[in-house]
Symmetry: C2
Subunit: 300 residues, 2 copies
Amino acid sequence: MEPVSTEHVTTLRRFNRYFTRRIGALDDHYLGQDRPLGEARLLYEIGDGASLRELRSRLGLDAGYLSRMAKALEAQGLVRITVHPQDTRLRLAELTPAGRVEVKEQNRRANRLAEGLLSGLTPAQRGQLTESLGTAQRLLRLAAITVELVDGAAPDARACLDVYAADIDARFPEGYDRAALVQPHEVSGDTGAFLVAYEEGRPVGCAALRRLEPGVGEIRHVWVHPAARRLGLARRLLAELERQAAERGYGVVRLDTHATLTEAQAMYRACGYTGIPRYNDDVYGGYWFEKSLPKPPLIP
Amino acid sequence: MEPVSTEHVTTLRRFNRYFTRRIGALDDHYLGQDRPLGEARLLYEIGDGASLRELRSRLGLDAGYLSRMAKALEAQGLVRITVHPQDTRLRLAELTPAGRVEVKEQNRRANRLAEGLLSGLTPAQRGQLTESLGTAQRLLRLAAITVELVDGAAPDARACLDVYAADIDARFPEGYDRAALVQPHEVSGDTGAFLVAYEEGRPVGCAALRRLEPGVGEIRHVWVHPAARRLGLARRLLAELERQAAERGYGVVRLDTHATLTEAQAMYRACGYTGIPRYNDDVYGGYWFEKSLPKPPLIP
DNA sequence: CCCTACCTTTGACTACAGTCAAAGAAATAT
DNA sequence: ATATTTCTTTGACTGTAGTCAAAGGTAGGG
């Protein structure tokens, strides 16, 4: 991997210092107002209802601490806590009308704060700021996502394929038959690979490689969770999978895409793939692509 | 002022949430490590030495709280506290060699964290992120700066002119004579104005308006502190001063600039000023500009 | 049916962050 | 010379955040 230039590190750190001290701290202070910050955050996070378990993982809180805060909010009449109908170990928290009012008030305060800040800028500058922040957030999210090689039979791998199958089943006019998915053993070991992308511990994308014929690998199931799209994650998965393919001795990789997935086709072309004639009898294939890989560096 | 669009507010708030929770919180956690966060911040802020008074205002801490923390750091051998030689009410804090080591270690950790984040991006993406963050920070700083109309005799006004005079005295080949500065009464009241820009309570720029002849105002001493340059603050001061001029019934404003200040000349042209012949006998003038102002809106 | 894993609650703490008021010492203004 | 202001220190607090361990109830696998 390329070394990180000090200029980039400095800018990120300077921004971080400036932003957390000036904007973030202000925001926290206003959000809480007459309520402890922890409670205010919890209230906000409950939103349209959530289980304590979920809240705990989202906010990264200790179970006991959370339990007590939830109880305090319940005592204040802001939250109603019920037992999960299916799994009675779980507790569900939801806002009461009073809680909803409180959250609305939080939102109003935060909006006013943001408006106050933005009002110091001209409309053109506001647009520029919005664009910069959007770009920065996209890139920061992408940077925080890790791509890992997992076994084709790993639960996360299967979970990704489940969502993937449901996703394209809804998108293909003819639906999608799960029988077309790769088998775990095809995408594991010396000839195959399965990559899962994680954002904050949750799988948000995948990509699979299997052997097609000697020297030729096939890339399949490149998929990104809807909430993680437009970050450039698919390209990253693809690049990483190509590295894996080269390491496994493949000189060429092929793939097919459904005729309806025009964005995917554009991406493959942009990543150096060229259209080729049909190479398989996949019923979902509409376009076929191929890319030659560089020889892997010899690791002594 | 134009209303702030919800899109801009939403983007700013979303970014704020994401950044403070994900990046900022992480940073704080790593910075502190085995030391309370307050102490870690104080240590960092002391840097090459500072008075307790200064630290208090920079960090926004309670006097008692700060005094105790400083003492704790001194007891740990990280900080040396001495009495100010001129004003014995003041205490000066500076790092001991051990303190310096500790701060270096903090820096190393923070750098590693930033590098870890950036290493997930391609060099091109890193460049894009750096640029976005730079732009965003510029704009956020600008947005947080307030411009206020003050009396020409106000301490902040005179303080600005002092720094201004010293600044250009160093820049003009022939130096600068303070006698050329405006008098307080010229830039106050119905015919004059004095604007001071504040960033976090400190004056970081100024601009003055005085009467030149009936219907014609003169803009003078447009100045921005070196630490606040390249944010677009001069333009903002200028625009606000033009509003003040229009309000005071001036249909035209004029100004002159020294021949060496080429950036200033470019800015005036970009702001709608056009070159005119010499209109005064200012020894520092090298270029003369003029701009017609719109009629002020009638306030009933 | 039993065992294990999971989720929550409760009790008992700790440490950090921060506030307030009183008082002392030195500088500055009048 | 006196009054006022400024800066710091000290004592006495408070509230929030967060940790750890024990215990009790429930779900799911074998």
